[in-house]
Amino acid sequence: MKRIIALMLTVLMLGGFALAEDAAPGLLRTAVLYDISTMDVAKTTDDYLIPLNVFDRLFETRPTGDASELVNSLVTDYTVSEDGLSYTFTLREGVVFSNGSPLTASDVQFSFERLLMLAQQNTEIAEEIAGADKVMGGEAESLEGFSVLDDTHFRVTLSAPNAGFLAELSAPAMSIVDAETMAKAPKFGEIPADTIGSGPYIVTEWVANDHYTLVYNDKYWGPEPEVKKLVVRVIPDATTQDLMFKNGELDMIDLSTLDSAIVASSYKTLPEGRVVSTPKVGLNYLLMNENNEFLKDVRVRRAIAMAIDVDQIIQGIYMGDAVREKGIIPTGIQAHNDALEGIPFDPEGAKALLKEAGYSDGQIHFELSMDSSSSNSSLQLVYAVISQQLAAVGIRAEIVSHEHSAWLALRNSGEMDAFVARWGMDYNDPANIMYTFFGNENNSKARSANYADKAIIARVSAARSIVDDAAREAEYQALEKHLIEEDVVWVPMFAELHLWALGERLAAFTPHWAGWTDFYAADFAFK
């Protein structure tokens, strides 16, 4: 018996030594929680890792310290007409797709038109081009506002001026595909062989729900990245990812679904530079439904905002890994207002306000609806803390768990009392958050906000087309101040920091400017 055990242990140990072999140079191993559903950006708003690395766009938004800037990518030069409607672009010379086919102005046109014709996802930006509605409606095949001047020159005409248009062109949605290849690649986005782009990497393998592999594209026009091969495994469980990283099976993990307490105790103790962080450009907020019998009273909403100690949440739950937000337009987005005071924490004031408004202790009650499928244990703690803090001023906020689709259905019906959620920014423009929540009555209802001031709604909607940057910024900031300090439409809380841990082999990593989980593989450096 002893001999058998000894034998088994020997076998296990040998296995162990064999495992310790080093990963090949240039290989980056990482894991994601969910597999991608498609590699085609016209069909997804979630899965941007492959579009970012396999395709190019006309521009890219790149992080610069605390802010971000727009840099040329496929475009080398452009001019804008006086009325802000018409843009003339010059394409980079000699760019080819990974199968050798050249990238020309008509490929750009094809890419935009394809997005509109498919009309599934990510059409918002292309819709601003004149004639887009006809292409979407199937009435026209070619985009009226797009004219190809020659192989490297084209002009785009918008239906209304939009100061944010160039920034929007850097969104993954505006990835450029090859018209010629697409004609003979019916499984574009589904199988690697048909998914051809001009970016620094080529997809070589995709085993659904298991892993996918990218390798360096030697026809890429730009500088050669240090990462030559990227293997992304699907590990739907943060704890397993955590263990795999600690066991040396992964070179990089996203720490955002791990509890900050774990991050603090086992990752912050890693040597300098092994944990990389960037703000997740977005906002966690507590939404209060203005159709609720208590929450319709602005004094109640104000008292709630005064009763919640956001700093305690940031320090206690997120261990300081979050940025305090006081308004609607988050840090890092144009028109963000650092000087906005918001509503300061003041529990005594909250009690006094409620008393003055004639509410007795415990009279105010509502449901705080939680999405139970959220894998994020920090969010559960946020709910518990908010409920406790509100109880301290005599408001009963009962936490109710709903399964994800039930939660979504209830919220969309406009009848959810209150909830905590996060809005992540898609592109660097305040409209992306202002308009979504307060620029349209239907939008506002679908968020269970039911914001009712029609004059403000109209102004939020109109602010989108102010061309002058300064005027636009001033209008957005005025609206934000009114919505937060007068109407108390929500309790702005914080933007978490997005943290990544780097394994021993890595020297540096620059995350996506908006703090996305998806990254450019070229932004890694080995030791």
Partner: protein, 307 residues
């Protein structure tokens, strides 16, 4: 015997159809539009409506059911809502892993279980027997997730002998197989010991002993062969149980198998995927018990004679 087998086959088909019908109805009485869930945060109403119509989800349930059955018969299980891939492709990838895992777990359970059971029976009521049986009892009552987490902690996290997760080499399968087979090993051990001891008490063993064959010889040549029937049947049933019981193990070790797929299907409100995975899992169980019946019929001389 042929007739009873045919009868069992028909019964199995009826049960399988029932399973499909029940899961189909159960999965569709859930409130909330699956398309809305699938599209998530950034969806707009018009797109949701169009997709709902495209997928035939606005049709009466009965039409949907027949449409589903006819496509399943053609081998088309639809497209996963949450993963966006054909369900058959996803299941193909996953089933290979689950099958490997279940076979390895069964191998572990049988070798360790039989070994311990025989050892215990030979050393009946000695300290080693009690210790071993105590451990096997612990094995039976230890929840799989505890066993899995424990193994992962000790052998991957602490000792770094084996990977935390991975199906690209056999090493990744060792810990999950032990975690999954742990329970069954305990059951096999207990069962082997009991049946062996029962057989040992029977008369013909005494005869063999009188003929001068030693204790070990008696065990191997007579008792073991006779005691194997119930143990073998149990092992067949266990195998199908392992195939479907890998849910927790696959989750803890994050192995892309049918069980993990099912958990993903549930959290993603993914009806086609859930429907197909539960069909596959129950199909395996039905097949397993059918096989067990056949095995029993072949091995048991009484049944063979009686037919």
């Amino acid at each position: 015997m042929k007739r009873s087998l045919a009868h069992r086959l028909i019964q199995a088909l009826v049960v399988l159809t029932g399973v499909v019908l029940i899961t189909f109805v159960m999965l569709r009485i859930v409130p909330g539009n699956p398309i809305e869930t699938m599209m998530g945060e950034h969806a707009d109403g018009a797109t949701i409506q169009r997709m709902t119509a495209e997928m035939g989800l606005d049709q009466p349930l009965i039409n949907q059911f027949f449409r589903y059955i006819s496509s399943v018969v053609r081998g088309d299980f639809g497209t996963s809502y949450s993963l966006g891939r054909p369900v058959s492709e996803l299941m193909g990838n996953a089933f290979a892993n689950t099958l490997t895992l279940a076979l390895l777990a069964a191998l572990f359970a049988w070798i360790v279980g039989l070994g311990c059971g025989i050892f215990s029976a030979v050393n009946k009521n000695r300290l080693s027997d009690r210790l071993l049986m105590g451990t096997s009892l612990l094995g039976i009552s230890l929840p799989v997730f505890m066993a899995a987490m424990f193994l992962q902690y000790v052998f991957a996290y602490r000792l770094h002998w084996l990977p935390v997760s991975g199906t690209d080499s056999w090493k990744g399968f060792i810990l999950p197989a032990i975690a999954l087979g742990w329970n069954n090993a305990g059951q096999v051990a207990q069962m082997t010991r009991t049946t062996l001891l029962e057989t040992l008490q029977e008369d013909y063993i005494d005869t063999a002993r009188a003929k001068g064959q030693g204790t070990m010889g008696v065990l191997v040549f007579h008792a073991l062969r006779n005691a194997m029937l119930p143990v073998m049947t149990m092992m067949t049933i266990q195998l199908s149980g392992l195939l479907s019981g890998a849910v927790i193990t696959e989750t803890v070790f994050s192995i892309n198998g049918v069980g993990r797929l099912m958990v993903q299907a549930i959290s993603g409100r993914d009806i086609p995927l859930l429907q197909a995975t539960s069909l596959l899992a129950t199909g395996m169980v039905i097949l397993g018990s059918l096989l067990a019946d056949c095995l029993y019929a072949v091995l048991d001389p009484r049944i063979r004679r009686g037919d």
